[in-house]
Amino acid sequence: MDTLKIVNLTVTVENKVILKDFNLEIKAGEIHAIMGPNGTGKSTLTKVIMGDPNYKIKKGKIYYNDKLINKMPVDERAKLGIFLGMQMPLAIEGVTNADFLRTALRSRDGDNFKLYAFIKNLEKLTKKLHMDPDMIHRGVNDGFSGGERKKNEILQMYLLKPSLVLLDEIDSGLDVDSLKIVGKSVMDYYKEEKSAILLVTHYHRLLNYIKPNFIHIMNNGKIVKSGDESLALEIEQKGYEEIIKEGPNE
């Protein structure tokens, strides 16, 4: 079974400790949502799992399917099946979506890459995500609205078929309709692929569409409380400060 296991992880950025003795295990078929106030290390967690070299692992281990990935380059982690849907997906002028996606799929599939199947799949996905089919000829996220960029992340997720999906504030910048499309698409993917999903979000509204098995509250670089969906409702009612004060689960 595909499993992400993080053991006593301490991470720094520019000598500032962001994650401290962090522990988490996510199995295939599980959705975990990480919530918490700003600056508690939620986005850092996703980037460190993906292998962003700006984040230095000082202590601890990250395993994916029992393989230690602490020092693995980012492209190899992606090939293992790890995908990061970014909070602010970058625009890359000049590189078309078509070139980018073809290169990514060729990197994964090698000689098994099928151009016709890729085109057909793309047509289907742009329709599903209510995206302009011409986006494929435009630069990666170039001139895309915030919502289009997030949909483009989900489109890439569908094409690359990862077994571990990290979604960093995938709901930010989305209007109500787009949130529904993105949320539903993530849930559909989860059901089809039985993947593991780690969501980072500030708001309960995303959880109207994506139903996590576990919710964790992070503060000062570690998980301070875990629970089921009812914890998200509690956060809505009480706010983070009060819940964090209450202390960890008994």
């Binding site: 993906m50 700006n54 980012v74 992606a78 970014m86 078309t96 990197s107």
Partner: protein, 263 residues
């Protein structure tokens, strides 16, 4: 459509319409200097393909009132020393798309925007492997004139690339648009230079200049690699995007060059 073939020490007009007149002066050919004068009287395209040209060449192009000229120019092999002088009359428009793949080059381009509303749009792409130096003097000599000078180069092997762009707007020449955008992706340890100069003696002007020498940004490379693309392929993809951006006429030719150096 007009086509000029410039190779060895020959300048040949291979295709011509009646929308421009052209004179070639070979009087100083024996000294290694040639001279080409073009007058454009109606909207047209001019393709200049240069290959291994060995002499110095002065090219003067005059664009008459209200005329729109597209210049598509490629240079391959050879060591080039060219000087260009463009004169643009009122309401004229000059659009230049230029692809360079040479041994070495030293160019001077002088653009005179002499009539109101004259506009120039200049887009150069080069793959620099030895010494390349491009100098520009852009004179806004009339009100409401517009210049957009874009230089993009990828510096590889023994390349030393230099862009010197100077734009001039004198006092009382109002409502001009001045833009310079120079970027060098330096894939060597050699020094590259950009000098983006704006000499503006008028307040009613919209002027921008940007200059960047470096490699591709970490964020761009990380984004591509996070989709399973290795570093080499990510660099290659970004290089292709950087060079292909804004290119229309020479798309296929440029694609071939990129494949030559990055595959």
């Amino acid at each position: 459509m007009n086509k000029l073939k410039i190779s060895n020490d020959n300048i040949t007009l291979t295709s011509k319409d009646d929308k421009l007149s052209l004179s070639i002066n070979n009087n100083s050919k024996f000294l290694g200097v040639q001279d080409l004068k073009i007058k454009v009287t109606d909207n047209t395209d001019l393709v200049i393909d240069c290959e291994n040209f060995i002499n110095k060449l002065d090219i003067t192009i005059k664009i008459l009132t209200g005329v729109h000229l597209n210049v598509y120019e490629s240079k391959s092999d050879g060591e080039y020393k060219f000087q260009y002088k463009y004169y643009l009359e009122e309401d004229s428009f000059l659009n230049i798309e230029k692809i360079i793949d040479v041994s070495s080059i030293n160019e001077m381009t002088i653009i005179n925007l002499d009539g109101e509303n004259a506009k120039v749009n200049y887009n150069l792409k080069t793959i620099s492997k030895r010494e390349e130096k491009y100098n520009y003097l852009v004179y806004h000599n009339a009100c409401k004139t517009s210049s957009n000078i874009i230089n993009n180069g990828v510096n590889i092997l023994d390349g030393k690339l230099e862009f010197n762009v100077s734009s001039f707007v004198p006092n009382n020449i109002k409502k001009c648009e001045v833009n310079q955008d120079s970027r060098i992706i330096n894939m060597t340890d050699n020094a590259c230079i950009i000098k983006p100069n704006l000499f503006i003696d008028e307040e009613d002007v919209n002027a921008n200049h940007s200059a960047l020498i470096g490699t591709f940004s970490f964020e761009e490379v990380f984004y591509l690699m996070s989709r399973g693309i290795n570093k080499k392929d990510a660099d290659s993809l970004l290089t292709r995007g950087f060079l292909m951006k804004g290119i229309n006429y020479y798309k296929e030719y440029l694609e071939g060059l990129i494949n030559k150096y990055w595959r």
